[in-house]
Amino acid sequence: MDTTSSSSYQLNSVQAKKRTGSRLLTSLRRNWDLYVLISPVIVYFIIFHYFPIYGVQIAFKNYIATQGIWNSPWVGFKHFQRFFDSYYFWRLIRNTLGISLYELAVGFPVPILLALLINEVRQKFFRRFVQTVTYAPHFLSTVVLVGMVVMFLHPNNGILNELIKLFGGQPISFMTEPGWFKSVYVFSGVWQQMGWSSIIYLSALAGIDPHLHEAARIDGASRLKRIWHINLPGIMPTIVILLILNVGSIMGVGFEKVYLMQNSLNKESSEVISTYVYQTGLLGAQYSFSAAVGLFNSVINFILLVLVNRAAKMMKQTSLW
């Protein structure tokens, strides 16, 4: 008999509250196999996500391997203090924020523009072609992407420098000049991800009521006007949500690509918090210190996420929660 779920909808709220406990019991009895099914996943999350969160306390301790996390002595904010006082602190903040904000400023609007453009294409074949081509780089690995960047930007025989020489310029050593690091990072990212990131906006565009366009057309609106007054507002909720998510990870510049693009010559503009945590923590074996640096990073991220979400809520009534 499968009436439990439908009959429980008919109960009024007071009765429903009384029944919550028994509902769990009924569900446990009837769906015990589903609980068994999901239990390995719950165990996985506890071990690999919640246990590390519990382990964050080593940031406030002097971690001694033989004592384990629990028995190592507390030292309060000592490691945080050392980080704030260190020579690297401002450089790390400047680079981490700099790369993120640059990426947000360039990388965030491009997929929106691309989606708006693709949405205007009438020929089915061309539309599919553009999509297939622009999605493809998403599937390259970071190692391969950085390898390609290095080859194309090589000062002696990289194709971009050949082009610069062709127009009479001096070849630029993009990978070793600190001043170029952020631009190379951001624009190679745009090249790789713009198509993929545009998918979500395209799906939002597909959901816009065609009647709006018809009405606007009858009123004599040009296509540009219709993009501005119908399409853009139509995908605004999606834009806001993705913006919130992006700002929430503003301090979390990905380790992978920065680390691969880094070399001893461009370090002053390429060292970010995540690569610093890896270097001091794992390679230098200062577990507690770099856990403190990592924690500082996630806390700032979390605060940013909450703040931006609140701001978006006040302005637009669109928010994550």
Partner: protein
């Protein structure tokens, strides 16, 4: 098609031109790499070859296929990808199906438990210590178990189960005496092949391209995945053993190095490129299903 004003016609031309430009910018490097990998290194390095190959040479490929480390890396990556993806997809279904059921009490709590980890994590060092304590450092499990399932994919799959598999079918199956697991196995999964294809693609590409976990958890070179060897060859210039230093002049070394690099990029991406056209129609759908409620 209704009549267009002059402004709209101009607009149409501009849109198409811009998109054509985007396509050229995205495609050029990809075509160039493939052409360079099968061309004479001299022509590539001198800048004679700028789009399509003008001469042919397969030095790079032959060097790669005679290099034991690259072949080991390739084999390792295949094993990690197959085993890892199988575990990923199984875990995703195991989590998504119960969470999609309306009569599964506690699903909100469990979903919240999963989603919370998207916004807050212990970070690199505590995660590393967990893996170390489990004693799986330097084994292939260190590359597979810590990323056994992704929250986003659970959400995408749950949404698919809820929106595309009619509840009535499942109810009637249960009236006919199917247990929950039989319903999942015989009715839900066969109807979910499109989303499972998407999951396989996402997870496969993830494993194929991953290098971070291998970098921090592996020390034995014979367990390295392809991406770690790629990193050495593409980015760290450790080519001496491969080009056979000693007998070669400097110029020849430079050229062989270039050929090997271009060929490597092609070889490393070949499986993904081969899968891509078959799975393309699925993955866009998959991303969109996720986008609706994501």
């Amino acid at each position: 098609m209704e009549k267009q004003s002059t402004g709209d016609k101009v607009f149409e031309v501009v849109v198409n031109a811009l998109l054509a430009l985007v396509c050229i910018v995205v495609l050029y490097p990809l075509i160039y790499i493939v052409s360079a990998s099968i061309s004479n290194a001299e022509d590539v390095l001198s800048g004679e070859m700028w789009l399509l190959p003008i001469s042919f040479s397969f030095v790079g490929y032959s060097k790669i296929f005679h290099n034991p480390e690259i072949l080991t890396g390739y084999m390792n990556t295949i094993v990690y990808t197959v085993v890892g993806t199988a575990i990923n997809v199984a875990m995703t279904v195991m989590a998504a199906y119960p969470l999609a059921r309306r009569d599964f009490a506690g699903r909100n709590v469990i979903t919240a438990l999963f989603v919370f980890t998207l916004f807050f994590s212990g970070g690199l060092i505590p995660s590393y210590l967990v893996v170390k304590q489990l004693g799986i450092l330097n084994t292939m499990w260190a590359l597979i178990i810590p990323g056994a399932v992704s929250v986003w994919n659970i959400i995408i799959m749950r949404t698919f189960f809820q929106s595309s598999i009619p509840e009535e079918i499942q109810e009637s199956a249960s009236i006919d005496g199917c247990s929950n697991l039989q319903t999942l196995w015989r009715i839900v999964l066969p109807l979910s092949m499109p989303i499972i294809a998407v999951m396989i693609l996402f997870y496969c590409v993830g494993h194929w391209n991953a290098y971070f976990n291998a970098l921090i958890y592996l020390t034995d070179r014979d367990k390295y995945p392809l991406q770690l060897f790629l990193r050495e060859i593409l980015l760290q210039g450790e080519m001496d053993t491969m080009v056979g230093a000693g007998d070669a002049t400097h110029a020849k070394t430079v050229m062989d190095t270039a050929s090997i690099r271009y060929a490597l990029v092609v070889v490393a991406n070949l499986p993904v490129l081969l899968l891509y056209p078959f799975l393309q129609k699925y993955f866009v759908k998959g991303v969109m299903v996720g986008a609706i409620k994501g």
